[in-house]
Symmetry: C2
Subunit: 371 residues, 2 copies
Amino acid sequence: MAFSRRGNEVMVVDNYLHRRLALKHKMPPLVALPELPERCQIWKSVSGYEISHAIGDIQDFEFLEGIVADFKPDTIIHYAQQRSAPFSMKGIEEARLTLMNNITTTFNLIWAVMRHAPKAHIIKLGTLGEYGTPNIDIEEGWIDIEHKGRKDRMLYPRQGGSLYHTTKIHDTDLLWFYVRTYGLTVTDIMQGPVYGVVTDETENHPDLLTAFDYDDIYGTVVNRFVVQAVAGIPLTVYGKGGQTRGFLNIRDTMQAIVLVAENRPKTGEMRILNQFTEQFNISEIADKVCKAALSLGIEAKVAHLENPRLELEEHYYKAAVNKLAELGLKPTMLTEKVLREMLEYVKEHQHKIDKTLIMPRVRWSHALQHA
Amino acid sequence: MAFSRRGNEVMVVDNYLHRRLALKHKMPPLVALPELPERCQIWKSVSGYEISHAIGDIQDFEFLEGIVADFKPDTIIHYAQQRSAPFSMKGIEEARLTLMNNITTTFNLIWAVMRHAPKAHIIKLGTLGEYGTPNIDIEEGWIDIEHKGRKDRMLYPRQGGSLYHTTKIHDTDLLWFYVRTYGLTVTDIMQGPVYGVVTDETENHPDLLTAFDYDDIYGTVVNRFVVQAVAGIPLTVYGKGGQTRGFLNIRDTMQAIVLVAENRPKTGEMRILNQFTEQFNISEIADKVCKAALSLGIEAKVAHLENPRLELEEHYYKAAVNKLAELGLKPTMLTEKVLREMLEYVKEHQHKIDKTLIMPRVRWSHALQHA
């Protein structure tokens, strides 16, 4: 929608993986959304612009190849990933699905582009989680290493905290190999956790919104805390709550992708950008949600849970985030106003909250317990 | 055989992938070898020891799981990889086979071990090619990075020169993730190109030898040069020939694996070792083969070919290789005697050489030429 309203010809390809998994694992979004064809029609009625679509799985190379050959895109935004860390840690089938889906979609995309649109700019959604939580500053993709009196610029060493994050490292390695071998043009945006509901394009129609997930598997932390506050259950902070991440508003994800598409890297370049707006630890997020809730008359509490994940709960964290600002990104901050908007959206749909979905069901040690 | 003759109970699992690809792509080894069941029988008649075997594909998880659950191995040596770089660069089908085979076998092995033999020591064959040719010293798996006044010990940044090498980087990331999450015990041996024909176990029977591949896709450089010298065709040095790698004798691969198995890392450790004996560039290898050939009365010549690969032809190369020496490895050097043994073995089978198999058929830029 962001590209369409700027006058671009846009095509969306979806295999409904997220929806199918949500059904199978009983983790519906807070508000049910119409399917893609209906959403395209609504968009047309709201904006006057047409978005074409195809329902299919880009793990099927021939399907994808046909689309790329016909549509000849200038820019491809690659979102076709299983992108939940807890899902990837649930069991062998979920792990396998994540690994296979994520590597196959990227591989097929690379080959479809090489064959039919070699000049296309591939924008891949990465994650800051690829870097993990190292004890040195995180740079944007590359690091200058001085070692035993010699120097080189190398891919920043990556170490993800879940199988999902590890598959994103695989993607980076795969794209970087094909970029330097065949001159593909790629931007990899390494994003932190996203919060928020509304973008410029979706505020005019509730059926155009993004799915608001709040369960333990799909829901990211701000969403979960907001739902817990509204539902009158304590905000579940995992462990000490000192886990620090860089967060961003959903409006800024759209802003970033448009900026990146309109400012292509050089042909044959693999450009890697980090994106987040503010760093918080989990306890700070909980405090902010409690404070915003109180301003709406909701008294929220915090409960520390045993951490279901394997992660450092207190650690150094400093990540560079300069390149998007240089392209002109105007950051949206996590203000009390933004949190109040989220709380109000959830309150409006309060009767739909299923409280049983929020407590963590997936433990990182799960596989061994069942061994 | 090396483990069997030391009194261990040994089982071999093979899906004949290497043989099937050799047939399909018409690249037979110099000497045809009997299949696995017959080789096990010959071994028994020669040594008195039994080696059990199963023919099947460990991409089939249930097949692998059954074997691990029944056999309950203490040590697993993971060779189940498509391990030819040129093969992985041939076209989309070969690339896909390499990517899928290599990631799936490693993933299945990890889960079979987690479920049925969580204390087993996984020995994975890696490759020095994962590191590429950086401008700083290559360390054994990990590097201490000092950056902006802070320090961390991180996975050495990897950048492989082919899709095959990239899949080995995937393996490393996958194993390292499951090691630190579930406490698996892994040794990753990063080997350079291997040369040689005979080991202590195979010298007593020609049908126990390893396949001697000399074609452009399976054959490594020393094998190819030896065959070219015997066949009276010039030794094909790719480009300037300044490409430097660390080489090792096939006897030392066996020595290393036995040493590594007999000296387990700590439970829950991912130990990464580099292995090569001597560094040479390709021109130096060609000179050595010419000299050894001359001592047998064969006059060999060198021809510089346009490089079919994308790689630096002159570069810094210094890789650490201390840990195997600390375990007691006694290196075998690439002496004139060793090369003469190889030349004599090939001469004995000279009539079987197919000269059409040696010139490079796969160019790294192949995919784009056909786009």
